[in-house]
């Protein structure tokens, strides 16, 4: 099953490689991983999307906690949560396609952030499924380039991951 783990980790050189090394050494899957410093510059927060049986997820959580630099780990799936992913997608937008592409982007609440005579670059945020749906909605031959961040997640309501 798909799980989203949120990890608070010391913002130190090499900390990321400890996490990714752990996943590869123990044969766990990483579907996506995002990381950035938090409002407290000594801490980074990672969102790791992974999949596995409950036993495997339990081991992943325990093994992550065992890393000296990991401060806290939560499995967002244990309660309501929100996840978002950002995609930048560059499409061929010439002639009659131009208007249609703009309309499709609007429907998906995407924003055109760069324009040339022949291309649009569209910024789109949402769940992974929404981004997939947008890609499907486009003519595949029009897509020049996509870049996706992988999911970031946060608990709903009062649920907080903090020291």
């Amino acid at each position: 099953m798909r799980h989203i783990l949120s990890v608070l980790i010391e913002n130190e050189a090499g900390a990321l490689s400890r996490v990714t090394g752990l996943f590869s050494a123990r044969g766990y899957n990483i579907d996506s991983l995002t990381v950035q410093t938090t409002e407290d510059p000594t801490l980074s927060r990672m969102t790791i999307v992974t999949h596995g049986s409950d036993d495997v997820i339990e081991q992943i959580t325990k093994q992550l906690n065992k890393l000296i630099e990991v401060v806290k780990v939560i499995d967002l799936n244990e309660a309501d949560h929100i996840e978002r992913e950002l995609m930048l997608i560059k499409v061929r937008a010439a002639g009659k396609d131009r208007e249609e592409l703009k309309r499709t982007a609007d429907i998906f609440r995407g924003r055109i952030i760069d324009v040339t005579e022949k291309t649009y670059t569209i910024e789109l945020t949402g769940t992974g499924e929404k981004l997939d749906a947008f890609i499907k909605a486009l003519d595949a031959t029009a897509i020049l380039e996509t870049v996706r961040t992988g999911a970031s997640g946060i608990g709903r309501g009062e649920r907080i991951l903090k020291i």
Partner: protein, 588 residues
């Protein structure tokens, strides 16, 4: 006061009470070696290979209660140390390994003797540090020793670029250390401990399974008290040997791949199992499904949460320091006067005694050829069971584990997790330095000993009068045994041709060497080796042993604890409870 990084390294080691630093110099650590030259707070032991430095530091730690410390140079020095580090990691041994690194400005430029030690060691350390600023050096040492020794212990690497050893800064050693992301548990959950006590009280066939965590965690006294108080049978893993006295009547022997008949069957057919600092690894329970096919309630006490439910789901997990948890468990049992039903327990003992009767460690003695088991039994006799025994890896290791009845923890030193050949001799050296008055024996084979035989030189230099018992069967014995069993006796590359004259080798290094071929000479030679005349000498004994002896019992990969290959006199014997006890399957 202002000191150089190198001087700070020496000061920190002195502050930590380091007695011996095992190491080997090289370009990147010359500054550190200069600072060692100028101090007299600790001694440096110059090994002949960096792997041996780490093994020696490891065994120094295993045979004492201190952190072992090794120092190696960058590049090949660091990579040579990796096998030693992995060995310590697999067995949870607290070490601090200092590696030199090329100057900061040269990192990443493929400099001479550069290797990414942080990257190379990452999967086999508890933690590692690259010190980029001399001002962080002292605090890093404080943290490293703290991390190595607390919680589930393990090796910590400190990688120090050469320019950091040369830079100067104000020095003071931190008094205390606090790492917000690292707070190892101590006390077990009281509710869980009460549940464990109740399970023990309700048990009809209780069993205590004790691993290396009890040895490392200093919980042997608590294990013994629990076992004796309830009069329950107890087994030790390879790493747990000595946690309960091997001669104690409640001890049913080691369990696992080469465990005794009674220890393995009790593990399979118990109804309540208390696992203490053990991790249900593949060499112990083989296949989890088979192990659980006879239902049982399991209490698992371990300081590392990730050890729990890794291979076997348990009913009562207790995360905590094994010593603290057992102390609390014993208190609850006493307070509430809980103990297993005496009739059920007597019935269980009757069953265990029946399993014991055929003696699965019985072997056929010989007056023609030296039986390896006989050498170990005689070693036990000659040393009165009091020697510190180190071993290498293979058949001799299993025989040492089976036939030397260890009386106390930290007496048996072997590479259980990683199975590192070449561990035995440097380990014996480290153990002897930690215990200068103890008798130290290294049980090895002609294959393993040659993987670090150069340390005979170090032993000479530092006067470590260990006794090396090489069970020389002219085969890589365990490989040969598997080839006999599973590969149609095709002995592919398991014969050690062109063996050297070990007596001459010992003598060339300045030691005493004996070659023993006659079973009648085993005891007199061992007596001489451990006798007063050779007390101060390293003695190397080349025992020419039976070439085709196998280790029994044996559990083949993929089979259950009740599917052992048994020694000849027990072939075909049932591996189930006996007739009057047939109701074992449905009691839980």
């Amino acid at each position: 006061m202002e000191l150089s990084g190198a001087e700070i390294v020496s000061r920190c080691l002195a502050e930590e009470g380091v007695e011996f630093l095992f190491g080997y110099p090289g370009g990147a650590v010359l500054e550190i070696y200069d600072s060692i030259f100028k101090q007299d707070r600790f001694k440096h032991v110059l090994v002949r290979h960096e792997q041996a430095a780490v093994h020696a530091a490891d065994a120094y730690s295993r045979s004492s209660n201190k952190v072992g410390v090794a120092l190696v140079t960058s590049g090949p020095g660091a990579t040579n140390a990796l096998t030693g580090i992995a060995t310590a990691y697999m067995d949870s041994i607290p070490l601090v390994v200092i590696s030199g690194q090329v100057p900061s400005a040269a990192i990443g430029l493929d400099a001479f003797q550069e290797v990414d030690m942080i990257g190379c060691s990452r999967p086999i350390v508890k933690h590692n540090f690259l010190v980029k600023d001399v001002r962080e050096l002292a605090a890093t040492f404080k943290k490293a020793f703290h991390i190595a020794a607390t919680g589930r212990p393990g090796p910590v690497v400190i990688d120090i670029p050469k320019d950091v050893t040369m830079a100067r800064t104000e020095y003071s050693y931190p008094e205390s250390v606090s790492i917000r992301s690292y707070n190892p548990p101590i006390k077990g959950h009281p509710g869980q401990i009460k549940k464990a006590a109740q399970l023990l009280a309700d048990a009809k066939r209780p069993y205590i399974y004790v691993g290396g965590g009890a040895v490392q965690g200093g919980a042997a006294a608590q294990v013994t008290e629990l076992v004796k108080m309830l009069n329950v049978p107890c087994t030790n893993t390879l790493m747990g040997l000595g946690a309960l006295d091997g001669t104690d009547p409640n001890f049913v022997g080691m369990l696992g791949m080469h465990g005794t008949y009674e220890a393995n069957l009790a593990m399979q057919y118990c109804d309540v199992l208390i696992a203490v600092g053990a991790r249900f690894d593949d060499r112990v329970i083989s296949v989890p499904g088979q192990f659980l096919s006879n239902p049982k309630k399991i209490v698992h006490i371990d300081i590392d949460p990730s050890s729990i439910a890794k291979r076997v789901k348990v009913d009562v997990p207790i995360v905590g320091d094994v010593k603290a948890v057992l102390t609390d468990l014993i208190a609850v049992l006493k307070e509430q006067n809980l103990k297993p039903n005496p009739d059920a327990l007597a019935n269980w003992w009757k069953q265990i005694d029946e399993w014991r009767k055929p003696n699965s460690l019985l072997y056929t003695p010989s007056t023609e050829v030296i039986k390896p088991q006989h050498v170990i039994e005689t070693l036990w006799k000659v040393t009165n069971g009091e020697a510190i025994v180190t071993s290498d890896v293979g058949q001799h290791q299993m025989w040492a584990a089976q036939y030397y009845k260890f009386r106390r923890p930290k007496q048996w030193i072997n590479s259980g997790g990683l199975g590192t050949m070449g561990f035995g001799l440097p380990a014996a050296m480290g153990a002897q330095l930690a215990n200068p008055n103890a008798q130290v024996a290294c049980v090895t084979g002609e294959g393993s000993i040659q993987m670090n035989i150069q340390e005979l030189s170090t032993c000479k230099q530092y006067h470590t009068p260990v006794k090396v018992l090489s069970l020389n069967n002219r085969y890589l014995g365990m490989v040969r045994q598997w080839q006999e069993f599973f590969y149609g006796t095709r002995y592919s590359e398991s014969y050690m041709d062109a063996l050297p004259d070990f007596v001459k080798i010992a003598e060339a290094y300045g030691h005493v060497g004996f070659k023993v071929e006659n079973p009648a000479d085993v005891e007199p030679v061992l007596k001489e080796a451990f006798g007063p005349a050779l007390k101060e000498r390293l003695v190397f004994i080349d025992f020419r042993t039976d070439q085709t002896e196998n280790v029994f019992p044996m559990i083949q990969n993929g089979r259950g604890l009740n599917q052992m290959d048994l020694p000849e006199h027990m072939r075909g014997m049932q591996q189930t409870p006996f007739e009057n006890n047939r109701d074992y399957g449905n009691l839980c």
